[in-house]
């Protein structure tokens, strides 16, 4: 049985932890609003870009000579996995969900006898992945010092991917990130960006014959590298919103747990105080009776 003093100290410490988690929740909620707005604003750009590419793909005349970024290298030997995670912890299962998904596909790639290359973005993912897969990591990025991730950062990564592709370092590239659905649900996702995903979306089934200026190939060559950066940027935005959402829920839970704990400890504290008072009373009364 802990002494009264010990209980008092514990209650105090739990209360101060609760204050911290509550503050973190508030901060996350404020940041979430902004991040969510950004993610929603960024969606049309990447969607429309995808649409244009689909339209182009449909009308391409000579699939044999189409840019490699679109149709792939024709072999399926080396996979490049780009894992996007946060730079900070304390956000529930956010980082580990991405890593779990990434690791399971790493395993699959390796068991099929294919080569694996990994690019990590964000320090938390790097920490989790390097334990088992350090030798496969070809490049790591971290934008810890940046307050807000802009298109420039996405372009850095996009260019890196394109450079590797030009050097024939990989055949297939997959992005891992959390898709922001709403505040409590974030879905870890694997999105293939090279070769470009050619599955038509529903809204895009109408077939229009476009006029191209200059030729299709030239437009594609200009557009495809841009599309990679755009997809990376979209993943960044979704990730940022997911991170804050995940942190908010995690911190909300922590605050509630701390509250429960404080209640329990307080009851304990009161009980043992009452017990000691009763004990003292009994001692006094029985002392008086014996006189």
């Amino acid at each position: 049985m802990p002494s009264l003093d010990d209980l008092k100290k514990r209650i105090k410490s739990v209360k101060s932890t609760q204050k911290i988690t509550k503050a973190m929740k508030m901060v996350a909620a404020a940041k979430l609003r902004k991040a969510q707005e950004n993610a929603e604003k960024g969606r049309p750009y990447s969607q429309k870009m995808q649409n244009i590419i689909l339209n182009l793909t449909k009308s391409i005349s000579d699939p044999q000579n189409a840019p490699k970024l679109l149709v792939g290298t024709g072999i399926d030997k080396t996979h490049l996995c780009v894992v996007l995670t946060a730079d900070r912890g304390l956000c529930g299962g956010f980082n580990s969900n991405i890593c779990k998904l990434a690791k399971s596909s790493f395993k699959k790639i390796l068991s099929e006898g294919k080569n694996l290359k990994i690019i990590t973005v964000g320090s938390k993912g790097l920490d989790q992945i390097k334990r088992e897969y350090e030798k496969y990591i070809v490049k790591k990025f971290s934008f810890k010092d940046k307050k807000q991730i802009t298109f420039k950062e996405a372009e850095i990564i996009g260019n890196e991917i394109i450079n590797l592709f030009k050097k024939n370092e990989f055949d297939k590239c997959v992005l891992f990130y959390n898709n922001f659905k709403n505040v409590i649900t974030q879905i870890p996702q694997a999105q293939q960006i090279v070769p470009a995903d050619k599955n038509p979306t529903k809204e895009n089934e109408e077939n229009l014959s476009y006029e191209f200026e200059p030729e299709e190939d030239e437009i594609l060559e200009d557009l495809l590298p841009k599309n990679i950066s755009t997809q990376v940027f979209k993943a960044f935005l979704e990730n940022a919103a997911s991170e804050q959402g995940s942190r908010m829920t995690a911190m909300d839970n922590a605050t509630r747990n701390a509250g429960d704990l404080v209640d329990k400890l307080t009851i304990n504290y009161n009980r043992s105080r009452q017990a000691s008072i009763t004990k003292e009373l009994i001692e006094i009364i029985s002392g008086a009776e014996s006189l």
């Binding site: 960024g42 870009m49 182009l56 841009k226």
Partner: protein, 129 residues
């Protein structure tokens, strides 16, 4: 029937403008291109220049690159560099000009880059006048 169509300029982080207009001039890669209502579906990309949206007053945007799609009387411009000309100050333009001049002096750039840079310079100088 009105002679207007919608134009939308979108950058990766936000939608810059969405409005109705009767004519837009865009600096397409192979030359300036005027677009009116019921233009045939078109996909092209931009070189540095000015997008001129002709409403009651002209609205001009400076772009360095971008992708354009026109379909169903919807003009969609995707660009990460659009800036409204009235919001650009001289200092900013001068910085851009000297930066591009420096790049042009470099002999290692390709013809395509040279072509793009010279258009960028020309447009910027015109704005600055």
């Amino acid at each position: 029937m009105s002679e207007k169509f919608t134009i939308e300029i979108i950058s990766p982080d936000r939608s810059i403008i969405k409005t109705e207009t009767s004519e837009v001039v865009i600096p397409s890669f192979e030359g300036e291109m005027g677009i009116l209502k019921d233009h045939i579906p078109l996909i092209t990309f931009l070189r540095p220049g000015l997008i001129n949206i002709k409403t009651s007053t002209d609205q001009k945007y400076f772009v360095e690159e971008g992708t354009v799609e026109f379909s169903n009387n919807n003009l969609l411009i995707l660009t990460s560099t659009a800036k409204e000309v009235t919001k650009m100050n001289n200092k900013f333009i001068d910085a851009l000009i000297s930066e591009s001049e420096k790049k042009l002096d470099n002999n290692e750039i390709t013809d395509k880059e040279r072509y793009l840079l010279s258009y960028k310079l020309e447009t910027l100088r015109n704005i600055n006048q």
